[in-house]
C-alpha cells in the first residue's frame, strides 16, 4: 500500500488555545441569549396580537 499524498492526508483537529476557548465560550453565550431574546420577542408579539384580536372581537 502506498502512503497518502500530502493532499490526501487527513488533518487532525488541533487543540484550541486558551484565547480560542474563551472566544468560543463568549460566542456560545451570545448565541444562547440571542435565541432566548428571539423567542421572547415572538412570544410578546403573539400575546400582543392575541390581545389586539380579543379586544377587536369583543
Amino acid at each position: 500500500m502506498t502512503d497518502p499524498t500530502p493532499e490526501q492526508t487527513p488533518e487532525r483537529p488541533r487543540a484550541l488555545t486558551a484565547d480560542e476557548e474563551k472566544a468560543r465560550k463568549r460566542r456560545n453565550v451570545a448565541i444562547f441569549w440571542s435565541l432566548i431574546g428571539f423567542i421572547l420577542l415572538i412570544f410578546l408579539v403573539t400575546i400582543q396580537r392575541l390581545a389586539s384580536n380579543i379586544s377587536a372581537g369583543g
Binding site: L16, E20, R24
Partner: protein, 328 residues
C-alpha cells in the same frame, strides 16, 4: 476547493476562531444601524396611525436587524476592496477574524429573523419593503452598482432611503405620498453627502478601483453635481411643509438648515476640494483644500438628523402611540 484548502479552513475557522461577539456586531455596521433606526423611527412616529408600543419597538428592532444583515452581506462581499481602503481595512472580515462564509451566513440568518419579526409585529407590506431594501443594498448596490458605475451611490442610495418608508408602512400597512417624500429626502441627500466624503477620500477609492464620481469624472464635475443635488435635496426637504407632515419646528430645521446646506455646497463648488494629494487617515482629517468638502460631509449628517428629529418632536411629543395603547 481542494482538500488542502478545506482542511486549512477547518482549522483556522469555526471553533478555532478568536472572534468575539463584538466582531459580529461590527459586521452589522452599528453606526449605519443608528441612522437607520433613527429615520425608521421618525417614519413610524410621523405616520397618522397609532401603533402599540410593543409592536412599534419590535418593528424598529427588526429594522435594525435587517440593516445589520445588509451590512454583513456588504462586508463579506467587499472584503477585497475594504482591505485596500484605510477607512475600512480594520473590518472583521478583512482582518480574517470572521470568515467570509460566516459573514454571509450571519447576513442570511439575520435577514430571515428580521423579515419574520417585521411581518409578525407589523404587517406584510413593511416586511416586504424590508426584504427588498436588504436585497437592494446587498445585491443591486454592493454586487452590481458599486464597482461598475459612478452613479453607484445615486441609485444605491435608495437602499438607505427605505427606513422611514418602512417605519411608515409598519404603522399604516401602506405607502402614502408622505412616505415617498421621506424616502426622497434621504435619496437626494445621499449624493452630496457621499460625494463630499469621496472628494477628500478619493485616493482610497481610486486605490480600490471603485468608480466613485471624483475618481471617474473628476473633482470639478463632482463639485458641480454636489451643488445640483444639494438644491434638489433642499427643495424636497420643504415638501413636508406643503403636505402638512412638517410643522413649525420642521420648517425651522428645513429652511435654516437647508440654507446653510446650500451655502456649504456653494463653498465646495468654488473650492478646489478633491484636487490631487494624499488622503489623510481619519474620517474628518483633510488636506487644507478639502475643508469645504469635510464641512459639508459633517453638516449633511447633522442636517438630516435635525430634519428627522424635528418630525419626531412634532409627531411624537405626545407619545400617543407609546403609553395609551401599550398592548393593542
Amino acid at each position: 476547493m481542494s482538500v488542502t484548502e478545506k482542511s486549512a479552513e477547518t482549522i483556522t475557522g469555526g471553533a478555532a476562531s478568536a472572534a468575539s461577539p463584538a466582531d459580529y456586531i461590527a459586521l452589522m455596521k452599528p453606526r449605519v444601524m443608528t441612522l437607520v433606526v433613527f429615520t425608521g423611527f421618525a417614519g413610524l412616529v410621523a405616520a397618522p396611525v397609532d401603533m402599540s408600543f410593543i409592536s412599534a419597538a419590535i418593528a424598529i428592532f427588526a429594522l435594525a436587524l435587517g440593516a445589520g444583515a445588509a451590512g454583513a452581506f456588504n462586508m463579506a462581499y467587499d472584503s477585497d476592496i475594504d482591505a485596500v481602503m484605510r477607512r475600512t481595512r480594520l473590518r472583521p472580515v478583512v482582518r480574517g477574524i470572521v470568515p467570509r462564509a460566516e459573514a454571509y451566513t450571519f447576513g442570511g440568518v439575520f435577514t430571515l429573523a428580521s423579515v419574520t419579526l417585521m411581518a409578525l409585529a407589523a404587517n406584510y407590506v413593511a416586511a416586504a419593503l424590508l426584504a427588498f431594501s436588504i436585497f437592494f443594498y446587498a445585491l443591486i448596490y454592493t454586487v452590481w452598482l458599486k464597482r461598475s458605475t459612478p452613479q453607484n451611490i445615486v441609485i444605491g442610495g435608495a437602499a438607505g432611503a427605505f427606513p422611514p418608508m418602512i417605519g411608515w408602512a409598519a404603522a399604516t400597512g401602506s405607502v402614502s405620498l408622505d412616505a415617498v417624500i421621506l424616502f426622497a429626502i434621504i435619496f437626494l441627500w445621499t449624493p452630496p453627502h457621499s460625494w463630499a466624503l469621496a472628494l477628500y477620500k478619493s485616493g482610497d477609492y481610486a486605490a480600490a478601483k471603485i468608480p466613485m464620481m471624483p475618481v471617474a469624472k473628476g473633482a470639478a464635475s463632482t463639485r458641480r453635481q454636489i451643488m445640483i443635488y444639494a438644491i434638489a435635496y433642499v427643495a424636497i426637504s420643504l415638501a413636508p411643509l406643503a403636505t402638512g407632515l412638517g410643522g413649525m419646528v420642521y420648517a425651522g430645521a428645513a429652511i435654516l438648515g437647508g440654507a446653510l446646506f446650500l451655502v456649504l455646497s456653494g463653498r465646495v463648488l468654488t473650492s478646489r476640494a478633491g484636487e490631487a494629494g494624499t488622503d489623510e487617515d481619519g474620517l474628518y482629517d483633510v488636506r487644507a483644500g478639502d475643508r469645504a468638502a469635510r464641512d459639508l460631509f459633517a453638516f449633511s449628517i447633522a442636517h438630516l438628523a435635525l430634519l428627522f428629529a424635528a418630525l419626531i418632536a412634532e409627531h411624537g411629543a405626545g407619545l400617543h402611540f407609546a403609553f395609551a395603547r401599550f398592548w393593542s
